[in-house]
C-alpha cells in the first residue's frame, strides 16, 4: 500500500537495525557527536551533489506517492538527504561495534 512514509520507514528499519549497537555494544558514537557531525557533513554534501546530478540526468527517479514530498533544490527529495545521514551513522556504528566485540585496531587509538 503506497504511503508517503514508505521511504522513511526503510530508514527507520536501518536506525533500529544499527541503533541497538550503541546500547548493547557500547559503541559510544552518539556521545562523540562532534566527530560524528564532522564525518557525516562532507558525505551529505558530496552525495547530495551526486544525487542532484543523477536526478537531473534521469539516472533514477522516485515514486512521489511513497516519499515525503519535500524537495531540496534543485530537486532532491528530503528522504534522500536523510539517507545520506542515516547510512553513514549506521556504518560508523557497525565499525565501532566490530571494534567493541573484536578489539581490532583502526589506527585511531590513543597509543599508536
Amino acid at each position: 500500500m503506497p504511503s508517503r512514509l514508505s521511504y522513511v520507514a526503510v530508514l527507520v528499519f536501518v536506525l533500529i537495525g544499527s541503533g541497538w549497537l550503541e546500547i548493547m555494544l557500547r559503541t559510544r558514537v552518539l556521545r562523540r557527536w562532534k566527530r560524528l557531525l564532522l564525518s557525516i557533513a562532507p558525505v551529505v554534501i558530496v552525495f547530495f551533489l551526486w544525487d542532484a546530478y543523477a536526478v537531473a540526468a534521469d539516472h533514477w527517479s522516485f515514486d512521489e506517492s511513497r516519499i515525503l514530498g519535500i524537495f531540496i533544490p534543485p530537486a532532491v527529495p528530503l528522504d534522500e538527504v536523510l539517507f545520506f545521514i542515516v547510512i553513514p551513522l549506521a556504518s560508523i556504528l557497525t565499525l565501532e561495534a566490530v571494534r567493541s566485540a573484536k578489539g581490532w585496531p583502526a589506527d585511531d587509538e590513543e597509543s599508536r
Binding site: 526503510v10 533514477w60 556504518s91 573484536k102
Partner: protein, 127 residues
Amino acid sequence: MTYTQLGIVAVIVMVAVDLWILRTRLVTRRIFWVSYAIIVFFQLITNGMFTGFGIVKYDDAAIIGSSSPVEGPPPFVGDGRLAFAPVEDLLFGFAIVLMSLSLWIFWGRRGVQRTPMAGPPRWRRRG
C-alpha cells in the same frame, strides 16, 4: 556519465581518499572489511526494499540492466540486478560507506573525540 561509470569513479576516488588524502588506510584493515561485510548484507535488504517496492526507479540508459518496470518489482537477480537493486548500487554503497568510515577514523586520528573508545559489549565484564 552513466550511473555505472560514476559508480566506478566514486569507488576509485574514495579508495584514493582513504589511502592518500586522509591516509586512514582502512582498505588495508581487517576491521574495515568485516564491518563492510555486515553493512553490505543489510544494504542488500534495504536497497531491495527501495527498489522491490518501486520507491526508487532506475533508467536503462544509466545502468547495465533494464529500466525499472512501471508496475511490479524488477527481477530479483539477473538483468544487472541483485536483490531487485541495480548492481551499480554496490559501487555507490561502497563509496558512501568508505567515505564515512575514513572520515570518522581521520577525525579520531586528529584527536577529535578519540575517546571514549567503544566497548566492551554489555554482556562482557570490563577490563
